[in-house]
């Protein structure tokens, strides 16, 4: 790209689930549409397209993002991971996915890829309590489960018992202690 000439389309190169992808994309193409429509990776779901529901969550360089709020051109040079990329090649389920199935953490499944992608990137140590798990899950909406079973799946995937007690480690929330948020999750 000629750096000082605005363009309508751009050649981009990124890695998606480990494979190199080169494409010429219109600059207004969203990453969610690139994944679903150009690359046929339809595991990434699209609910609201304004950043609220979390169904479109994917990893960009290992961090969870809203793919509906990311222009594909701004992912140029990045590594993108979708739900297809966390599923073992033999078609079995990863431990996190298995925990969702076993704990009935999904019903219709529309929200599930977004929850999974949020969770694979999460550090359990940053979410030692149920309250902090709920804060993590607050960025993904589910219309079916009522969230309880999703929280159970997270506890199991993270090696905690069904009361949320870590099998090892402390239960002290991170943070400064100067914040108190309100509002029920």
């Amino acid at each position: 790209m000629n750096d000082l000439e605005p363009v309508d389309a751009l050649d981009i190169e990124l890695r998606v689930n480990g494979s190199a992808v080169r494409r010429r994309v219109p600059v207004r193409r969203l990453l969610s549409d690139l994944l679903r429509d150009d690359l046929s990776l339809t595991g990434t779901h699209v609910g609201c397209e304004h950043g609220v529901c979390g169904a479109c969550t994917v990893l960009l360089d290992g961090q969870p993002i809203r793919s509906c709020l990311q222009l594909a051109v701004t992912a140029d040079g990045c590594e993108v991971t979708t739900v297809e990329g966390i599923t073992p090649a033999d078609g079995s389920l990863s431990p996190l996915q298995a925990a969702f199935r076993d704990a009935h953490g999904l019903q219709c499944g529309f929200c599930t890829p977004g929850f999974l992608m949020t969770l694979v990137a999460a550090d359990p140590a940053e979410h030692p309590t149920d309250g902090s798990i709920d804060a993590l899950l607050s960025g993904n909406l589910c219309r079916c489960t009522g969230y309880q079973n999703i929280r159970t799946a997270v506890r199991r995937a993270w090696g905690r018992d069904d009361e949320g007690n870590a099998s090892a480690g402390s239960d002290t929330p991170l943070g400064s202690g100067t914040s108190s948020g309100s509002g029920a999750s």
Binding site: M1, D3, L4, E5, P6, V7, D8, L10, P26, V27, R28, R29, L30, D33, D37, C48, E49, H50, G51, V52, G54, T57, L60, Q63, P64, I65, R66, C68, L69, Q70, L71, V73, T74, T118, A122, D134, A135, L136, S138, G139, N140, G175, S176, G177, T178, S179, S180, G181, S182, G183, A184, S185
Partner: protein, 301 residues
């Protein structure tokens, strides 16, 4: 539109497949790799151009076609806009520093814990991965945490254009809802936060964790000087901009009772009525929050 708020889905105009699957109206795109290039482009293109930082407020507006810029200038590849410069007395934070990076910075959590506390209220982790501190201040949502924090901590921002740079106090930055004193050809390049505060805290009422605040307060305290009692109380989500509650600050500094401080705070705002909460509810919420903050600052109220 406030992203994160309720907005009606626009009538569907495209089709679900193929090349036509685009939400934003057409625009052109520019990706400068230096601040000078970005400022030149803004000066040349004028009103037609709009900077894009993390896109977490702008892209929802593009998707709904509520914003139709001619050219987007991507600030994401300008190294000079990212990173934190630490001195004993202040933090100088590059405008493009991601909110999540600041949240995870242990040194900042040690020296200015209220910043991490505030960031944890900003949307959700997926939003903070991309969202930037400069974008939040430039977006100037009246219910946003970071503008209120900047105001409470006497932060200043550095603003640049081809004509040069200027420093703007947070107190002069926010003019109205989603409106700052930046000219269209100016960029916010840096935020300077003084570290003089002994204590600072943030509390808010929101319907869910991560939603925009229906009412919130940032409080801060530092040693008094002859012309400054050293107490700051700033309300957010309770007016058209973040508001400094100067009468409540004075009441608190004078050792007023919780009732007196809360009354002074409630008298200092002109809250909005909307679908989420009416003005009376916001005023009541603010009264409760101010009392809680006074407690956390260790100032009796």
């Amino acid at each position: 539109m406030r992203c994160g708020g309720r907005a009606a889905r626009p009538a569907w105009t495209g089709c679900w497949w193929g090349e036509d699957v685009v939400k934003p109206a057409p625009f052109r795109y520019l990706r400068p790799t230096s601040l000078d290039e970005a400022l030149d482009a803004l000066a040349t293109l004028g009103d037609e151009a709009k900077p894009i930082a993390g896109g977490q407020s702008l892209v929802p507006m593009l998707n709904f076609r509520l914003a139709r810029p001619g050219v987007l200038i991507d600030l994401g590849r300008i190294p000079a806009l990212t990173g934190v410069h630490r001195t004993d007395g202040s933090l100088r934070i590059g405008a493009m520093t991601r909110q999540r990076v600041l949240e995870l910075d242990q040194d900042i959590a040690d020296r200015l814990p209220v910043l991490r506390a505030a960031l944890r209220h900003v949307g959700h982790v997926q939003i903070r991965t991309r969202g930037t501190i400069g974008g939040s201040l430039a977006h100037a949502d009246a219910a946003a945490e970071l503008p209120a924090l900047a105001l409470a901590l006497d932060a200043t921002v550095e603003v640049a254009s081809v004509a040069g740079t200027r420093t703007v106090a947070a107190a002069d930055l926010f003019l109205g809802p989603w409106t700052t004193c930046l000219a269209p050809d100016e960029l916010l390049t840096r935020v300077d936060v003084p570290l003089a505060w002994q204590r600072a805290a943030i509390v808010e009422l929101a319907r869910r964790h991560g939603d925009f605040a229906l009412a919130g307060v940032v409080g801060a305290r530092r040693p008094a000087t002859t012309d400054d009692a050293g107490i700051r109380l700033v309300g957010f989500g309770v007016g058209w901009t973040p508001v400094r509650l100067t009468e409540a600050e004075a009441a608190l500094a004078a050792g007023g009772s919780a009732e007196v401080v809360a009354d002074a705070a409630a008298a200092g705002i002109d809250p909005i009525d909307d679908i989420h909460a009416d003005a009376a509810w916001r005023r009541d919420g603010l009264r409760a929050l101010v009392t809680r903050i006074a407690d956390q600052l260790g100032v009796a109220a």
